[in-house]
């Protein structure tokens, strides 16, 4: 691990915020991901894969590799991982009848370990009826409103987070594998455009931090590539699980931009594009981060 100087973006950011103390962090020699291996119950996870040939990243790293050992440890054991309380709730909800149709998820989909295997790894996925790609949250609410005749769950509700965590877990260890061709191409390209667009009062883009400067320190935080293979993720900051769109929203607020709508087309396109940047990484749902 060589010493890298703080990025120009981060320095600019520091200056913009007028915090001289930030400069102190510029000298902290912390660069790149660490070399720890992620294994839970003997199963190993791919936290590092070669980037696509024509892609922007030479190597693709899970955010887990940028966390310190205290944070990493919380994901090494499913009991220690606080995201699992939601997984258990999700498992109960799976077989709980709700709505006028008198159905539960289980009524149609049976054993989630079979029927939901690989689902999370392909999200967002093209939906012919909707005429657009749907995220896991959209798909769950579609099922609730159309098939169960139940009220949709709020995006960031405990029920939704529990269900996405439970369904996501069924794909744990499987490689991220989203489609970006055919009708998805336009959405992928739209997501890409958002990813590289500089926005907000700080005039920053996703790429400014997560492509050009990952591995470096932004103030006291070790920048990751912003991969989304572990969502919903338990963040210490949130003290609970949170969705991909919540994280996007937080990032946009950080750069003082007006966030897009949670569940809207922009974030769906961005989710697809960011997922495609992490093709091949193991699904880690529910991951633990700082």
């Amino acid at each position: 691990m060589g010493t890298r100087v703080i990025s120009s973006t981060a320095a600019k950011l520091a200056a913009a915020a007028g915090l001289a103390a930030v400069a102190a962090y510029a000298t902290v020699a912390l660069a790149g991901p660490n070399d720890n291996e992620l294994a839970v119950d003997g199963q190993k996870y791919m936290t590092e894969v070669p980037g696509a040939k024509d892609g922007p990243l030479e190597k693709v790293y899970s955010g887990w590799r940028f966390r310190n050992e205290a944070t990493q440890a919380m994901q090494l054991d499913d009991f220690d991982n606080p995201g699992f309380t939601n997984v258990e709730t999700g498992e109960q909800l799976w077989s709980t009848v709700d709505g006028e149709a008198g159905k539960s998820c289980e009524s149609c989909h049976g054993d989630a370990a079979e029927s939901m295997k690989g689902v999370r790894a392909q999200m967002p996925k093209w939906n012919e009826a909707a005429g657009k790609p749907l995220t896991l949250e959209h798909t769950i609410n579609n099922c609730r409103t159309q098939n169960m005749k139940a009220a949709p769950w709020k995006w960031e509700s405990n029920e939704m987070l529990s269900m996405t965590a439970f369904i996501g877990l069924q794909s744990r260890g499987m490689p991220v594998n989203v489609k970006t061709d055919g009708p998805m191409k336009a959405w992928h390209d739209k997501g890409k455009e958002i990813y590289y667009a500089r926005v907000g009062q700080l005039d920053m883009s996703c790429s400014g931090c997560h492509e050009e400067n990952y591995g470096k320190m932004i103030r006291a935080d070790h920048l990751s590539q912003g991969q989304i293979n572990g969502f919903p993720t338990y963040r210490s900051k949130w003290q609970k699980l949170g969705s991909i769109h919540r994280r996007f929203k937080g990032c946009m607020k950080n750069i003082r931009a007006t966030p897009f709508k949670v569940g809207g087309d922009e974030f769906t396109a961005l989710e697809l594009y960011v997922a495609s940047r992490g093709q091949g990484l193991s699904i880690e749902t529910p991951a633990v981060r700082n």
Binding site: F79, D80, T85, T89, Q239, K240
Partner: protein, 110 residues
């Protein structure tokens, strides 16, 4: 708030006199009393798990008096030397007077 559900991890079997590790976690916000309501600006009253106890065959083996500085979803890991087969009972006490408890059996020897 989400339904409060305790989780515990106790080995199913042990040798007599073996020192086993027990892990416990309960989903709870642990409202510290120091946070303000974003809309009203008022302090949100404290509401935490203030006590955790572990009993084995009716005898107290480990307990904790808990303050707001314990993180949300309180986690406790501790050791117990098990002399015989029996039942562990774990209890969490909430500031609002509710208690949550769960039991686990362990087989010793044989």
């Amino acid at each position: 708030m989400a339904k409060v559900k305790p989780r515990v991890k106790v080995p199913k079997k042990a040798e007599a006199g073996e020192v086993i590790t027990i892990k416990t976690l309960i989903n709870h916000k642990m409202e510290s009393g120091f946070r303000k309501d974003k809309k009203t600006g008022e302090l949100i009253p404290q509401k935490i798990i203030n006590k955790f106890t572990a009993e084995f065959n009716g005898k107290p083996v480990f307990s904790a008096d808990v303050r707001p500085a314990v993180s949300a979803n309180p986690y406790f890991q501790f050791k117990v030397k098990v002399p015989e087969s029996g039942t562990f009972k774990f209890t969490w006490v909430d500031d609002d007077g509710s208690t949550y408890s769960t039991e686990k059996k362990i087989k010793v020897g044989g």
